[in-house]
Symmetry: C2
Subunit: 327 residues, 2 copies
C-alpha cells in the first residue's frame, strides 16, 4: 500500500513519536540509535521526525551490520535503541557471541512485530534495559502514531486525542464492552492526506482500563497486541499474506505447485522458511530474488525436485506454523 503524507501529517507523526520518547523517559539531548533504514519501510522516518521534535541526538544507522551497530551504541554512549523487535533479538544474539556489553544503553523502543511477555523479558535481561512496546500502523500514519506503554507497563496507552479506538467483534462488527477481546479499529482525527474511518487493523486486543494510570496519563490502555484476525504474517516488520508468496512463486517459470511456508514463532518473533518444488534449472537465487521483490525481504528457503516435498491428504498444508517458547 501507498501512504501519502502532507507536511501536517509529518508534524502529527513527529508529535506522537515525541510523546513516546518522553513517555520512555528519553529527555532532550539524549542520544538514540535508529536502526530501520529510511526507505519504503516507513519506520525510520517516524523515529527520526519524532526525535527532532523531542530534541534528541540521532545516530541513524540503518539496518544490518550488527557488530558495527553494537560498536556505535558504545562509541556514542547511546541511551536508547529504536527498531523492530526481531532486530533487538539479533543484537542480543551478536552481543552474546561477542561476549559484548552495552553499559550505556538504558531503553529500547521496539515495534512493528508482536512479541510475547516472555520475549520482552528475555530482551530486557539480555540487553540489560527497559523495553517499551511501541504501536502504530502504516495506515494510521506509522510507528508510534497510536501509542505505547508507559513506565508502569500496564498496557498500551492510545493517543485518544488523535485517534478514536474501538474493539469490535470481527465477525459481526458489533462494538464490544471493555475487557472483551476483539479486533482493534481506528478512526483518525488529525490526519490529512489519508485519514482513516473505522479502519480494521486485524489486530486482536481488548481495553484494559479507561482510568487514570499511575503515570498520570488518562489515555485509555489496551492489552499489547499478540494475535491477528487473519492469516497475515509479520516478519522483520514486513507484513504479507501467504497468497502473495504463492503468486510470487508461481510467476517463476519452472516452479511447480507444491510449496511450504514454514513459520517458526519463538515467543512471538517470527522467522519464515519457504520450500518449493521446481524443474531443474530453477535456482534458489532465482526464487529468493523474486520473493525479495514481492515481499521486500529475503526469506530462507530451498528448491526441491518435483515430487519430493511431503504430500498431505485433503486440504494441502502449505503454511506450517511452529510455535515454541524459549526460556
Amino acid at each position: 500500500m501507498v501512504m501519502p503524507y502532507t507536511q501536517e501529517d509529518i508534524d502529527q507523526w513527529a508529535e506522537c513519536m515525541a510523546r513516546c520518547y518522553r513517555m520512555a523517559g528519553i529527555e532532550e539531548g539524549k542520544t538514540i540509535q535508529i536502526t530501520p533504514s529510511f526507505g519504503l519501510f516507513n519506520g525510520g522516518f517516524g523515529f527520526y521526525h519524532g526525535a527532532r521534535k523531542a530534541g534528541l541526538f540521532v545516530i541513524p544507522t540503518g539496518a544490518g551490520n550488527t557488530p558495527r551497530q553494537i560498536r556505535l551504541l558504545n562509541d556514542f554512549q547511546v541511551y536508547a535503541l529504536m527498531g523492530v523487535v526481531s532486530y533487538g533479538v539479533r543484537i542480543m544474539e551478536v552481543l552474546e557471541e561477542e561476549r559484548g556489553e552495552l553499559p550505556y544503553l538504558k531503553v529500547a523502543m521496539f515495534g512493528a512485530e508482536t512479541f510475547s511477555d516472555a520475549m520482552k523479558e528475555k530482551l530486557q535481561n539480555g540487553l540489560g534495559i527497559e523495553v517499551f512496546d511501541i504501536y502504530g500502523l502504516t495506515e494510521t500514519g506509522g510507528v508510534g502514531t497510536t501509542g505505547m506503554d508507559c513506565p508502569f507497563h500496564c498496557g498500551i496507552h492510545i493517543w485518544e486525542d488523535q485517534y478514536i479506538v474501538e474493539v469490535i467483534d470481527p465477525d459481526t462488527g458489533q462494538v464490544l464492552d471493555d475487557g472483551e477481546k476483539g479486533e482493534i479499529v481506528f478512526t483518525s482525527l488529525t490526519r490529512k492526506a489519508l485519514p482513516v474511518i473505522r479502519f480494521r487493523t486485524g489486530d486482536i486486543s481488548r481495553v484494559l482500563s479507561r482510568d487514570r494510570c499511575e503515570c498520570g496519563r488518562t489515555h485509555l490502555r489496551i492489552e499489547p497486541i499478540t494475535g491477528r484476525t487473519d492469516d497475515m504474517i509479520i516478519v522483520k516488520g514486513v507484513n504479507f499474506y501467504p497468497r502473495q508468496v504463492e503468486e510470487a512463486l508461481l510467476s517463476i517459470p519452472g516452479v511447480r505447485n507444491h510449496y511450504q511456508i514454514i513459520i517458526e514463532d519463538v515467543n512471538g518473533i517470527k522467522d519464515v522458511h519457504i520450500n518449493v518444488e521446481a524443474d531443474r534449472g530453477v535456482t534458489g537465487f532465482m526464487v529468493e530474488k523474486r520473493l525479495k521483490e514481492v515481499l521486500g525481504f529475503s526469506p530462507k528457503g530451498d528448491v526441491f525436485s518435483p515430487g519430493t516435498l511431503p504430500r498431505h491428504e485433503g486440504k494441502e498444508v502449505r503454511v506450517i506454523r511452529k510455535d515454541r517458547e524459549e526460556e
Copy 2:
C-alpha cells in the same frame, strides 16, 4: 568520520539542496525519487531535507531492487531521480535488459562519484533525461552543499555565500590563479556543529569563470571533478583508502600478506575486486563480511591459496587500475 549536525546545519543543507532542485528546474509539487537509503551514508538526508524545503513530493525508495525502482518511477510518474552516479548506471542497465522505458522521467541529479563527460552523455541518452552533476562533501555538510551545474552545463556553480572556495597547489599550498588546475579547498561560512577552515578536499579542479553565467547566477564556476590528489578510491558513493583494505584483510586470522585491489574504471565509474591469499579454512564469506564491516559495502573478490597470486619485482603492485572508455 563523524559529521554532526545542529538544527541550523540541517536547515542550511536543506537551503543548499533546495537551490539545486530549483536550478535543475524541479518546481514545487514535482515528484522526485530518492534512491540512497537514509543511514550512515548521509546522501539521502540531504536530498530529503532539501526536497521538503523546496515543496517536492518525495518517493523515498532507498537502495537496491532496481526493477522495483523502475516500476515506482513509472507508477508515480516521477519527474526527477536522485542518487549516486553508479546507481544511475545500474538503472540504465536494468532498463536495457527489460527493454523498459521511463517516459515521465526528465531529470537526474547524480553525485558522490566523479564521472566523465562520456559517462554523462551515455546516462543522458540511455535514460532519456538531463543529468546534473551535484557536488558536496560530507565534511562541508553533504550532498549539494557546495554546488551543482546549471541548465547551461558550463561548470559547477559554487555557493559562494555559504563557502569560500580556493584552488591551491597541493604540494606548496599556494593559491593558484583562475584557470590553473589544483586542489579544491573549502571554508564554510554558515555551518555550526563542525565548520571547516581551508578544508583540503583532495579533489582536482580549476576555476572556469567568475563572470555572470547565462543562467543569471553570479556564483563562480569550477570544472567538474574528475581527479584526486591522493589514492582515495570512491566506489558506489563510499570513500576508502587502500590501506583500510589492507588493515581489514590482515585482521582476519589465516589471511596472508599478498593481496590485490583491482579497480576497474569505466568512464569514471569505479568497480573494485579484491583478491587475497589465505590459509585453508578462510572463506570468501569471511573476507567479504570483514570488508563490508570496514568499507560499508561488499566488494567482489576471491580467496587464493598461499603462493598463487602473481608476484612482482621491487615494489609490490597491490592496487591495479584498469581504466577504459566505453562508447
